[in-house]
């Protein structure tokens, strides 16, 4: 499944479109940046409450498929600007981290 297909299936909001054709095989949920650096895999969907500039750097360094902000959280514009410059996809989910992860898991592993 691609990031774009996941967006359509779950009705996620696309704040910044990086590579929506990228393949997604899994995801990682964490708000601790070192956890993501240690354990997320390339192409993962990163589900988080963090919405500051360093998120863009971590996503870029880990080649994250898309960052999904939960509970409708919206980052400041400098973050979306930087994400656009770096080609990092940022999505917004209206539901909690638990529900968002559940829905993404179901879509990836039906």
């Amino acid at each position: 499944m691609t990031v774009g297909e996941l967006v359509r299936e779950l009705g996620l909001e696309v704040l910044v479109a990086g590579d929506l054709e990228a393949d997604v095989h899994g995801g990682y949920c964490a708000d601790l940046l070192s956890e993501v650096l240690a354990h997320a895999a390339k192409g993962d969907i990163w589900i988080t409450h963090q919405k500051h500039l360093n998120v863009v750097a971590v996503a870029k360094l880990k080649e994250i498929g898309a960052v999904v902000l939960v509970r409708g959280l919206r980052p400041p514009q400098e973050v979306t600007d930087r994400a656009r410059a770096e080609g990092v996809t940022i999505l917004v989910s209206p539901t909690s981290a638990f529900e968002t992860a559940g829905r993404i898991h179901r879509a990836l592993f039906p």
């Binding site: 070192s34 956890e35 500039l53």
Partner: protein
């Protein structure tokens, strides 16, 4: 040991203390530089993680410093040096979970105490020299051996 192959590329960046908005972008520049030099993707990935953790520590805990990138045919080295305050117990800061991060940094997802362990995990050698009141130098070495990673 066999003689060291001379460096082919060397660059440094100054890192300002407490400047969280700029933090992380030396790491992205290091990543870009390594890719453009044709360094193996697995090595670039490890160097990116090492650099981010080292950079964040300079920003959060030091009074400013610099990051030096040295790329040789057989290795990538990252040096983090700062102007203080220094680390009293180097063995302690290497332990997973040890952190003195303030609450405001923890809210932003720092302070898990996994930064230096991540640096060790992603380098072949991590040397730490520190003197309280003077400063800290960390040198991470990542060998460019053939790597059958994921």
């Amino acid at each position: 040991m066999s003689p060291r192959i001379p460096p082919v590329f060397r660059r440094y960046w100054e890192v300002a203390p407490k400047d969280l908005d700029r933090a992380g972008f030396v790491s992205i520049e290091v990543r870009r530089a390594l890719f453009s030099l044709g360094v193996e993707p697995e090595v670039v990935k490890r160097a990116g993680i090492v650099c981010f953790e080292g950079e964040m520590n300079l920003v959060l805990y030091s009074e400013g410093g610099r990051i030096v990138l040295v790329v040789s045919p057989d290795r990538v080295e990252l040096l983090f040096s700062d102007r203080g305050p220094g680390i009293a117990d180097v063995d302690l800061v290497r332990q997973p979970g040890y952190s003195t991060a303030p609450d405001w940094a923890r809210e932003l997802g720092f302070g898990s105490g996994l930064g230096i362990p991540n640096m060790e995990q992603n380098s072949d050698e991590l040397k730490i020299h520190s003197r309280v009141g003077e400063g800290t130098v960390m040198r991470a070495t990542i060998l460019r051996r053939k790597y059958d990673g994921r």
